[in-house]
């Protein structure tokens, strides 16, 4: 088999595995959210389908597929149909450059735990996120409905505004690690500060992390930044006119984006797959320990998401914009200046 065919096959196989795992995780993230928010609000959450409602995602999926797919009369059809696809495709695309661990070994065969290792991975991620706006924007515009249009205008403005802060918050980390490759950024975080504190970028870059977290919430349209789909004002925002699987695709895209954001946060600020070595485990399981740590950190991120959803109210729109441009952006810039000053003064 020629090398390029090998390459294509391997990549395809990896993509399929990653996408299946990711979509399952997305389904169970929804379950987790309903369960946790339910408990926070003194309810049970889903309980009927399966033990602890564990089969609820499956039931939801079947329901979405079987529902009638309504296309309203006055929509601009090509874009109306393309918009959810764009959303989901871009959301899935960004996971391609995320590394989950070091080498995976199956006997003599080994391959990096990542679909593709690009040396400007972080930029690719930013690029894909920045293009993801189109799904939302086109969905709202093509629906030919005022709620959709308002929702998508809000969403695009919000995503474009917070993207600036998001990008700038990453620069501090880049300055410290000196690379755009996610793998190298993670490897730069192995070891400890002062012998006990993990060498995570979170500690020197906690300001950047705060900015990143806030901007990431806004990018994924989560509470307290969920104005694009504010039910009380806009029915359901940009996906008001969507039903059945098309609606589900937006839903999937949103949760996939949450995962991506959690992955990037973990990789950039919390040492990725690095964690205490669990030496007491058998050798076979050992090679999966990094994967476990990675998944665990992502779980914590998701829990934080849900926690905040259960706690905070929604911003008003002008507050949102003012916060993005007048608070977050200057903080991110100040962080860059401070970090580069530190590096400039300590580098011989």
């Amino acid at each position: 088999m020629p090398t390029w065919a090998q390459f294509v096959l391997l990549s395809a196989a990896k993509s399929v595995v990653v996408i299946i795992i990711l979509l399952t995780a997305v389904a169970y993230a929804v379950w987790l959210e309903r369960k946790v928010v339910g408990r926070m609000q003194n309810r049970w959450g889903p309980t009927r389908v399966g033990p602890f409602g564990l089969l609820q995602p499956l039931a939801d999926g079947i329901k979405f597929i079987l529902k009638e797919d309504i296309i309203p009369t006055n929509v601009y059809k090509p874009l109306y149909i393309a918009a959810p696809m764009i959303s989901v495709a871009l959301a899935l695309m960004s996971i391609a450059v995320v590394p989950f661990g070091e080498q995976l070994r199956f006997g003599s065969f080994s391959t990096p735990a990542q679909i593709t290792d690009v040396n400007v991975a972080l930029l690719v991620l930013l690029g894909v996120t920045s293009v993801a706006v189109y799904g939302v924007a086109l969905a709202g515009w093509s629906s030919n409905s005022k709620y959709s249009l308002l929702g998508s205008l809000r969403a695009s403005a919000q995503m474009v505004s917070y993207e600036a802060s998001l990008g700038l918050s990453l620069i501090g980390v880049l300055l410290l690690s000196g690379s755009l490759s996610l793998r190298e950024i993670v490897n730069g975080q192995s070891g400890t500060y002062f012998g006990f504190l993990p060498r995570w970028n979170f500690f020197p870059q906690f300001i950047a992390f705060f900015v990143y977290l806030t901007a990431a919430f806004a990018e994924t349209n989560r509470i307290p930044f969920d104005l694009p789909e504010a039910e009380t004002e806009l029915v359901a925002g940009y996906h008001t006119e969507y039903s059945s699987m098309k609606f589900a695709m937006f839903f999937m895209a949103e949760y996939t984006n949450m995962f991506t954001v959690a992955c990037v946060g973990t990789l950039l600020f919390f040492g990725g797959w690095h964690g205490p070595a669990l030496t007491f485990l058998p050798m076979v399981v050992q090679s999966f320990v990094p994967l476990f740590w990675f998944a665990f950190k992502i779980f914590l991120f998701l829990f934080l998401y849900i926690w905040i959803r259960g706690t905070l109210p929604r911003f008003r729109y002008d507050q949102l914009m003012a916060f993005g441009w007048k608070v977050l952006l200057p903080i991110a810039l100040a962080n860059i200046v401070l970090t580069s000053l530190y590096i400039g003064l300590t580098t011989p």
């Binding site: 400039g344 003064l345 580098t347 011989p348």
Partner: protein, 502 residues
């Protein structure tokens, strides 16, 4: 620490670009001071901007003194992306003088227009930064960015009168055509970079000369597109359509600024590219330059004859002046280039003076840019009318005035190089141009005024008028003194000719 920073820039580099740094700092200063000033008391903005010009002039003087002291022909900095040679310094002085006069003209005018915002002066200073980059850039990247900096500031300045539809329309037209021509220009530059593999204009010139025969078609394409972009920027026919509209719609002070400083900057860019990058490609560009020069002379002069709007008329006349300067390029010898530089210098004074007189016609209830509005100026304010006569005759090239010397060197260079036909054509068009200049003079001196409203030019405007008039008359009466006083500046054309002409 020291070595780390020194890799990037050092005190020497900073000294060379200090004029630009000063202007940038003061422009930002104007923006901040503007916030602190109460509405209706915005004159401190103009004062700050003028102070910025003084500081820039001081640092420019330091560069010049260093050059003279060390007897160098030029000093480059930032890894050779910028060079302060006599030509660059000459143009920088020109920009500073033109901007200073424009600020004097603007203060009262913008108050009447009720648009006396700080951004106006800040944008003017920023555009001078761009112009300085165009004059001193030795790297096509810097040249292009300087060009864009100047152009974008000017687009905004042209549209500064937001309540005036003409101003908005002019800005939009200028922006669209300007962006288009910048694109063509950048395409030409990118081809040159592709052919030579470098962005340094000197190296480009050398490497283009050594290209194999097979890549000559691409070279041709590169030269043609670059030239088209340059011709647009100096408003030569047939790339001139933006000029009359932009000149007419812009605030009058900005029209003067564009026609003088903007044009000089475009010429600085053009000379830099011709003298360095296209030094050995004469066979390609010479026919184009001759054709464009003839068209520009014809188009500008003939169109100017039919205009009734003063600003439009001066716009076409300024196109015609570009035609004369292009003739200096056709001659392509020391006298020719000296002619272009002298022309730009005297044109700065006489054209700004003419625009200052037009500005003085502006009242709260009158735009004052039609020929009818200037009628009877002699009976209202004889002094201003007399000065206007001086400026117009100088623009026409009547001997005892400064404008004569610009044309004199151009004609001399044409005769030196044997272009007798072009020379006689140019003389013919001087006669044509006198017709439309005399039309204005006729209206001022012979026709009665349309209304009896007295004209009260502000102090700044009168100062600007006297400065430009004195320069116009002074240069005309005492050219030897002027040339001797500018002896050092005159090494500019000599430096160009010695180093860059074959």
């Amino acid at each position: 620490m020291q070595t780390f920073a020194a890799q990037f820039a050092n005190a020497h580099d900073l000294m060379v670009v200090m004029p630009m740094v000063m202007l940038t700092l003061f422009a930002c200063g104007v923006l901040i001071i503007d916030l602190l000033l109460p509405a209706g008391d915005k004159r401190w903005n103009a004062a700050t901007a003028a102070l910025g010009l003084l500081f820039a002039g001081g640092s420019l003087w330091r560069v010049q003194a260093t050059l003279a002291h060390q007897g160098m022909l030029g000093v480059s900095a930032f890894n050779g992306s910028v060079v302060m040679d006599p030509m660059a310094i000459f143009f920088c002085w020109l920009f500073l003088i033109a901007t200073g006069i424009t600020i004097l003209i603007s203060v009262r005018y913008m108050e009447i227009e009720q648009e006396d915002h700080g951004e106006y002066y800040a944008l003017m200073l920023f555009s001078v930064v761009g112009m300085m980059c165009m004059a001193s850039g030795k790297d096509i990247v810097l040249l292009f960015i300087g060009l864009e900096l100047m152009a974008i500031s000017t687009y905004v300045l042209v549209g500064f009168l937001r309540r005036d539809k003409r101003s908005n329309e002019a800005a939009l037209k200028y922006l669209l055509l300007g962006a288009f021509s910048s694109g063509i220009f950048a395409y030409g530059l990118s081809l040159m970079y592709g052919l030579s593999g470098t962005t340094d204009v000197t190296l480009i010139g050398r490497r283009l000369a050594g290209l194999p025969e097979s890549s000559h078609p691409i070279l041709m394409l590169a030269v043609v597109t670059t030239l088209a972009g340059l011709f647009f920027k100096i408003a030569a026919v047939p790339f001139h359509q933006w000029a009359p509209d932009a000149y007419e719609g812009a605030p009058t002070a900005i029209t003067g600024f564009m026609s003088v400083a903007g044009k000089a900057a475009a010429w600085a860019l053009l000379l830099r590219i011709f003298a360095f990058a296209l030094r050995y490609e004469q066979t390609i560009w010479m026919p184009m330059v001759i054709a464009v020069a003839v068209m520009t002379l014809t188009g500008g002069n003939l169109a100017a004859m039919t205009q009734n709007n003063l600003k439009r008329l001066l716009a076409y006349s300024s196109i015609a002046h570009v035609g004369y300067m292009l003739l200096g390029l056709v001659a392509w010898n020391e006298t020719g280039i000296k002619g272009i530089l002298v022309y730009l210098l005297v044109y700065t004074f006489m054209n700004l003076g003419a625009f200052a007189v037009i500005v003085s016609l502006r009242r709260r209830d009158l735009i004052g840019d039609e020929i009818d509005d200037i009628a009877g100026l002699w009976f209202k304010r004889p002094v201003e009318a007399l000065l206007m006569v001086i400026f117009l005759l100088s623009l026409g090239g009547i001997p005892p005035l400064a404008g004569f010397y610009g044309k004199y060197f151009i004609f001399l260079s044409l005769i030196e190089t044997g272009h007798y036909v072009l020379a006689s054509l140019a003389v013919f068009y001087i006669a044509v141009s006198l017709y439309y200049y005399l039309r204005i003079i006729n209206a001022m001196l012979m026709r009665p005024a349309l209304d009896a409203e007295p004209i009260q030019p502000a102090f700044g405007l009168r100062l600007a008028l006297w400065v430009t008039a004195l320069a116009t008359v002074g240069i005309g009466l005492f050219p030897e003194i002027f040339i001797r006083a500018a002896a050092w500046t005159m090494t500019a054309p000599r430096a160009v000719t010695q180093a860059f002409l074959r």
